[in-house]
């Protein structure tokens, strides 16, 4: 009953409906094109495309999470990649424990890098990560907890706007530095890699990769529906009110800090899941994922697609990353020129992104139609 209501609310928007249908189609077609169509056929999807597309969908999920806080709540987080990376590290720790005695040093308990760094026993924060359920819990819990503490402090003391952006950046920078340290027990500079299997399946096998891809697509659909329904709910309206006029909302009697905090924590949790899905498909997680530049890039995906549209960031993430893959293959020197130009172009000429442009074109067409209709009415009279 509640679920039905939720689904209905989530699928109310036309854009979301279309996006869900397309994503479902992709989730079905990618395995079909990869497995059922023989390799010689032009419609065959090569094996290496599967994790690549899966990666794009993870990024799309991250951009979607950012859109919830930036597009609907006005919090420009420059540290969202930190939540993504934390989720990724939680998954990476599970995958490391699954290697067991197959590592280079063959230690049944300690991952290779710990043997290398002379650890005698597993650090306490690695306990439990041999269970998938525990790791899955941590994937959501760790980013959420960080977002909760950070948001609780920041929103309560009314740090907003640019200042908030800068301290989120400081947060991810601090985490970057911390994870680079070997003493932290997260593999230092090299991060976590050499994964063997996930819940009993070989990570590098084609079927596992397809399974992960489909899972990513389904998680993305679920996140889209959840966020869309949150935004369409009464809470969503307050969220937008906080974005547009925080003091006014406060004077009416709402608590903007709590409203923001919920959105921030939900967003962090979704970012964490995206990171967890990302790691087994890419095969590595290292501190570089915390780099402030990464977080800013997520912002540009969102901006390109159209902030505050939910579907836009998904589109933006996929388009920009596909462009990046193409560029770095063909013209590696020009990728940064293109990306930089895209930043400037979008902010100057497409403030509402691609989806916003479609909306604008539609709105102006409707306005013209109405104007013409009005004129004709005037003429008829």
């Amino acid at each position: 009953m509640i679920f039905g209501h939720f689904l209905k609310q989530g699928l109310a928007s036309r854009y979301v409906q279309v996006a869900v249908l397309i994503l479902l189609a992709v989730a079905v077609m990618v395995p079909v094109l990869n497995l059922a169509v023989p390799p010689g056929n032009p419609f065959h999807l090569p094996d290496h495309w599967v994790p690549l597309l899966g990666k794009y969908l993870c990024y799309a999920m991250l951009a979607l999470a950012l859109d919830l806080v930036w597009g609907f709540c006005g919090i420009l987080s420059l540290g969202h990649a930190a939540f993504f990376a934390l989720g990724g590290y939680a998954m990476g720790m599970y995958l490391m424990r699954q290697i067991g005695s197959r590592g280079v040093y063959g230690n049944p308990v300690l991952p290779d890098f710990m043997v290398f760094l002379n650890y005698k026993e597993l650090p306490w924060f690695w306990y439990g990560f041999d269970n998938f359920w525990f790791a899955a819990l941590m994937v959501v819990a760790v980013p959420s907890l960080l977002a909760f503490v950070f948001g609780w402090l920041a929103f309560r003391s009314r740090v907003a706007g640019v200042y908030l952006s800068i301290i989120t950046q400081a947060m991810t920078y601090a985490l970057l530095l911390a994870f680079f340290r070997n003493d932290m027990g997260f593999g230092g500079n090299n991060g976590l890699t050499d994964f063997k299997e996930i819940i009993g399946f070989d990570v590098s096998a084609g079927s596992t990769r397809l399974g992960l891809f489909v899972a990513t697509a389904l998680f993305l659909i679920a996140s889209l529906v959840i966020i869309s329904s949150v935004v369409a709910s009464k809470y969503g309206k307050i969220l937008v009110a906080v974005r547009d006029a925080e003091p006014r909302t406060r004077f009416i009697g709402y608590r903007p800090e709590n409203v923001k905090l919920f959105a921030f924590v939900l967003s962090a949790a979704i970012a964490g899941i995206a990171g967890a899905l990302y790691v087994p498909q890419v095969g590595i997680i290292n501190p570089g994922e915390f780099a402030p530049a990464n977080s800013i890039e997520v912002v540009v995906w969102t901006a390109v697609g159209g902030r505050g549209t939910l579907v836009g960031p998904i589109l933006g993430a996929i388009l920009v990353n596909a462009g990046k893959s193409w560029f770095t293959g063909v013209l590696p020197e020009f990728w940064l020129f293109a990306l930089g130009g895209l930043f400037i172009f979008v902010t100057l000429f497409l403030p509402k992104g691609i989806l916003g442009l479609i909306g604008q074109v539609k709105a102006s067409a409707r306005a013209r139609r109405e104007k013409r209709a009005a004129e004709q009415q005037v003429l008829a009279e």
Binding site: R156, F343, I344
Partner: protein
């Protein structure tokens, strides 16, 4: 997500620096060697004259020194060689220095019957004058073998002779050698030198050297006690080493006195160490301040979040590189002034780019700070890639002029000249900027526009022009900072990236719209960072500072020196 942008948690400049200082130190030592030789040549030339002037018993004439030197020829085994060395040392005559040096280097060739030569590059030289000997009988020559314990004897003997040297630097060096070795055999030479010494600072050093000898050799407790006092008063690391060595073997009252002296010296040393830490902190603070001060104008005064600020610093550094290249190829004589020439150039280049940026992008985005952030980030990516395409991805070598290299010591602290100049430069920038903001007409216009744009506009101030000029000023200042930072950091396309977060932290911590805030913020963070480092390590220290800033912003969302206002939202 990009993996191309490699992040560096450690600033790399420091390593380069220390090796540079070391190189300078080594060079200095070589220079000293040359000076010693030159000095000896002078001694030889004025030989007779000298002996007529000082009919000193300690200075035997050349013939007797020669007689002793010729004993090397018939010395058998290390013990006899040592005796000859002691005999030479007892004369205290600088004439023997050349021979002893040659012996130390294994260049002394002898033949039984009193023939002694110094062999150098296939030539045979006279052991005293160093002149090539014509028709030297080179058959049957043998090298005098030495071992490490003999080397110590030789160096002690040499220091005894150098105590009387003409050059005060050599005398001072000799005194400190004796201080470190506490060699009792030097006592006599030392006392003679002490009696003849006229320079007070060297006298003091010699007194300390004497105390060092007495400490370990004197039987008289009163003398030892005085020696302890003298060494304690010296209060440096060498003194501490001596005192600890003494305390390990002493007992009774003297041990107590030694322990008290040790703790007193340790206290002095720890104060110096704290001083050194403060200096490191000030030095880091000045770097942070330089990186942040341009941002304090663009972000603090104008409210524009310029993510390309770090790239302006980078442009300044690359301008320095280009200026130096041009000087190297066309006018090498101007190299000492290269930084002074680079300063206005860097200001113009970075300021010009800033002006272009403001006119073409930023002016369309006023009032939309988050969009400005994204667009300027885009500019920063383009500038980085442009520099990478033009100059290549690797580090470029920017040289230090002589007045920027080397180091000097202040008490127990070691200060490098480039850091000292950078601290001075950053303070000068602060004063100059304050002057521009507070005392010039342009500064007045700038403040007016910041405080009330529409009112300023009504007063016939061309606000768009003021905006453009302010942004250009902030960018130009970043370029100036780049010139200074090129002296201590690697000049690479990533140079700006490593400063951008720190500079934002400084400006936000200090409070926007206030240069004093930026100054105090930068130096506070710098010193805090350096004081945390010994306890937490460099990286953890930095993390702690970041966490501290994050928490600090919660308490004071507008920074250390917030501008007062009554608006609900700024």
């Amino acid at each position: 997500m990009t993996h191309e942008i490699v992040h560096r948690p450690y600033p790399r400049g420091r390593n380069r620096n220390s090796s540079r200082t070391r190189a300078v130190a080594i060079e200095g030592r070589c220079g000293e060697g040359r000076r010693v030789q030159a000095l000896l040549a002078a001694f030889c030339a004025f030989l007779v004259f000298l002996f007529l002037m000082f009919a000193n018993a300690a200075h035997a004439d050349e013939a007797s020194v020669r007689a002793i030197i010729s004993k090397f020829a018939d010395a058998k085994g290390f013990s006899q060689v040592e005796k000859v060395i002691d005999e030479l040392a007892a004369t205290g005559d600088p004439l023997a220095v050349r021979t002893l040096n040659a012996l130390n280097d294994g260049k002394l060739q002898v033949k039984r019957g009193g023939t002694v030569y110094i062999e150098e590059n296939g030539k045979f030289l006279d052991p005293i004058t160093g002149e090539p000997v014509d028709g030297a009988d080179t058959s049957g020559l043998d090298k005098v073998k030495i071992k490490n314990s003999l080397r110590r004897t030789i160096s002690a003997a040499l220091s005894g002779m150098t105590l009387m040297a003409k050059d005060p630097a050599i005398r001072s060096q000799a005194a400190s050698t004796i201080f470190d070795s506490s060699d009792a055999s030097q006592l006599e030479a030392l006392e003679k030198a002490l009696a003849a010494e006229t320079v007070p600072s060297i006298r003091e050093q010699m007194e300390e050297a004497k105390a060092s000898i007495q400490l370990f050799n004197s039987k008289d407790p009163a003398e030892v006690s005085t020696a302890l006092g003298t060494i304690k008063a010296r209060g440096d690391r060498a003194a501490l080493a001596l005192l600890s060595k003494y305390a390990a073997s002493a007992d009774g009252e003297l041990k107590e006195q030694a322990d008290a002296a040790i703790s007193s010296v340790e206290e002095t040393l720890s104060m110096w160490e704290a001083g050194q830490n403060v200096w490191y902190g000030i030095s880091l603070g000045s770097v942070l301040f330089l990186a942040a001060i341009g941002l304090a104008i663009t972000f603090g005064v104008m409210g524009v979040i310029n993510m390309a600020h770090g790239e302006m610093v980078m442009l300044g550094a690359y301008t320095t590189f280009v200026v130096q290249e041009l000087i190297r190829t066309s006018a090498p004589g101007l190299f000492e002034y290269s930084l002074l020439i680079a300063l206005p150039m860097a200001f113009l280049v970075a300021g010009g780019v800033g002006l272009l940026m403001e006119r073409s992008i930023i002016r369309f985005l006023y009032g939309r700070p988050l969009e400005t952030l994204l667009a300027t980030w885009g500019v920063s990516l383009i500038l980085q890639q442009a520099v990478r395409t033009i100059f290549g991805p690797t580090n470029r070598e920017v040289g230090n002029p002589d007045w920027m290299s080397g180091a000097f010591t202040l008490g127990e602290m070691s200060l490098t000249w480039n850091r000292v100049w950078i601290v001075c430069f950053s303070l000068a920038m602060f004063v100059a900027l304050q002057f521009v903001l507070k005392k010039t007409y342009f500064g007045l216009q700038m403040r007016a526009v910041t405080q009330n744009r529409r009112m300023a506009s009504s007063m016939a101030i061309r606000t768009p022009w003021v905006d453009a000029m302010t942004f250009a000023l902030g960018s130009g200042i970043a370029g100036l900072a780049g010139v200074a930072l090129s002296q201590i950091d690697n000049v690479s396309p990533n140079l700006g990236q490593s400063y951008i977060i720190d500079s934002f932290m400084v400006v936000v911590f200090g409070g926007v719209g206030n240069l004093w805030g930026t100054l105090i913020g930068a130096f506070t963070l710098g010193i805090a960072n350096k004081f945390l480092e010994p306890y937490a390590g460099a990286v953890l220290g930095k993390i702690l500072v970041l966490v501290f800033i994050i928490l600090f912003i919660q308490r004071r969302p507008r920074g250390l020196f917030a501008q007062k206002g009554r608006a609900v939202e700024a």
